[in-house]
Amino acid sequence: MTDQPTSEHLDRALQRLQGGESVAAILRDAETTTATALEPLLHTAARLTALLPVATPTAEEQQADRAAFVAMVRTLQQQPVSPSLSARLNRWIAHTGRFKIENRQEKERQPMIILAIKLLVVLSLSLGSTGGALALAEQSLPGSPLYGVKLTLEDLTAGLQTNPADQANLYLAQAQARAREMLQLVEQGGTPDEALLLRLRERLEWAFAAASELPDPQLASWCAQARQTLQAQEQAMAGALATAPAAAQEQLLTALMLMTQAREQAHTGEQDPAAFRVRRPWAEEPDRPAPGASRTPQPGQSGPGQPGGNPDGACPDCTPTGDANRYGPQPEQPGPGQPGGNPEATPTPMGDQVRHGPPTEQPRPTATACSDCAYNRDSWMYRYGPQAGQYDPAAYQNRWQYRWQTQATPTPPAEVTPMPGPGPTSPGAGEQQQGSTAGSDQSGGGDQSGGGDQGGGGGDQSGGGGDQSGRDLGKGDVGAASRVGVQDFV
């Protein structure tokens, strides 16, 4: 039996073999059992000595090899040192690790980076969602939750405008937007509310107020463009009126008359800028918001003439003129058909369209009590306001349909289809009824004597009777409609 030699035994034996001893001498010193196993291994190792002889190259070849090596050294010396990628990476890691150890504040940087990334992500998502919400708000209609956002954005945009021309264009565009919203609501089977009408009128007046600050040539040019724009809008509204539900026709008619008034005013500015400024109904209009201000009546917000609105609007610094008071009576003044009002008054909402009569021929009354100033500015609410039971949409529609059918031929006042008498005929009528008898409308006298002035409130400061004023207004209204030209709508 043989014992396998350990690696140590073999290594010692190999060392002796490499030292020059013979295999036999090595095996003699080894144990018998181990020697048997060592013998073939030692003979195999001894056979390897046959590989030791080496054929060396010639001296020239060796010199050539050395010269090639030195030449390579020279070449590499001229090349820029560029550590390998792994070397650079290792150095960077080593440097970063050392830096972190040496500067313990570096540990705080990682959370800050993470926080910054989180903030970036949140801001991106917020801005993205905000942009989406703004895009949705831009297409929203009254009654939509985003409609308030749309109005606020419009106010903010208007507040950024400082140039009167830009302001005028922007307000006119916003008025167009209100009109489009009205049409869209009607198309969807809805009914525009009073707040939307208020916003429409408000934007129109602000547009003209801003335009009045323009030089005459620019004003005339702007008015020409505005007239065309308003005319197109009128046509759209007139087209929608024929197919609108009955409940929406009332609001559409009111909006149509507002557009007509505005177009007529634009026509005036186009022809005579000076007259535009004199006659502009917002000559003392402080309502136009200053840049940056937001006065948009938000949904649910009460406006003048509405419950919760400003009932008196005391205006000590106001000097109302016939133009300023064209919208008629004070809210607290009883109108025709109301206790204390003139029962014979024939109010018409078109009375203030007759404001193109000579306004200065009659002495303008001096305001002594200006509690109606604010309401004069917003008196359309009294004329077209939502007083229940005081509006007869059928009468309006018949009147407008009549005008369309007659192709806007200037019609003598006597031939005009009479408006319904005092009583619950129209929003405007209701308002006029309120103020017709008190005779406190400071513009009423001037309007009346003006032969159809725009002081269509029917009030008569001189006490000439609100009824007379109302009749005149009715005539003036027709005259104004004739001047506007019914053909414009057809």
Partner: protein, 186 residues
């Protein structure tokens, strides 16, 4: 560190800076040993010259790239020589032939004992190539380069005990390869 060690470290430091004199000195000191080491395995002068040149070429490229040996230059050179040799064998396998021993391929007549010795050498090299890479490396370093166990251990990156075990298994495998059970010499 003794003087020779300090001098070797200084020379290596200058070599890492691509100092021509230091590199030439290294070449002069190590090239003959590397050439012999390679020749004893490939048995061809030109192949051994090419492989030795490749070893020193790799040394220069490594130093130029900021890598290469930081100490134990000899170990780095033998390790590189082994890798170069492995690559050479791999290329030879792709060529599907073994190189002829140049002495056997010579035209001139050779004495009978010399022929026999060369045949035995060829058989040994063929048997060596049948070993594992680590076994080949240990046998070549230990018996063809004549390095001590400690140096071999440093080159192969294993402990000395592992080197002795490798040496033992390599000789046993080589013995079995040269003396198959059926008898005769391969």
């Amino acid at each position: 560190m003794n003087d020779s060690g300090a001098q070797e470290a200084g020379r290596l430091r200058r070599a890492r800076a691509l100092d021509a004199d230091a590199l030439a000195s290294i070449y002069d000191d190590y090239h003959p040993a590397i050439y012999r080491y390679l020749y004893r395995q490939v048995a061809d002068v030109e192949t051994a010259r090419d492989l030795a040149a490749e070893v020193f070429h790799r040394l220069l490229r490594a130093l130029h790239a900021g890598q290469g040996p930081t100490d134990h230059l000899s170990a780095w050179l033998y390790r590189t020589a082994h890798n170069v040799l492995v690559d050479h064998y791999r290329r030879q396998q792709h060529r599907r032939h073994l190189p002829l021993d140049e002495s056997l391929a010579s035209d001139g007549p050779a004495p009978g004992d010399e022929v026999e010795s060369r045949l035995k050498a060829a058989q040994l090299r063929a048997a060596l190539r049948r070993l594992t890479a680590h076994q080949q490396q240990v046998i070549a370093l230990k018996f063809l380069a004549g390095l001590p166990n400690e140096e071999v251990a440093r080159i192969v990156g294993k402990p000395v005990g592992a080197v002795k075990s490798l040496q033992h298994r390599a000789l046993a495998a080589l013995q079995r390869s040269l003396n198959p059970p059926g008898g005769g010499i391969v």
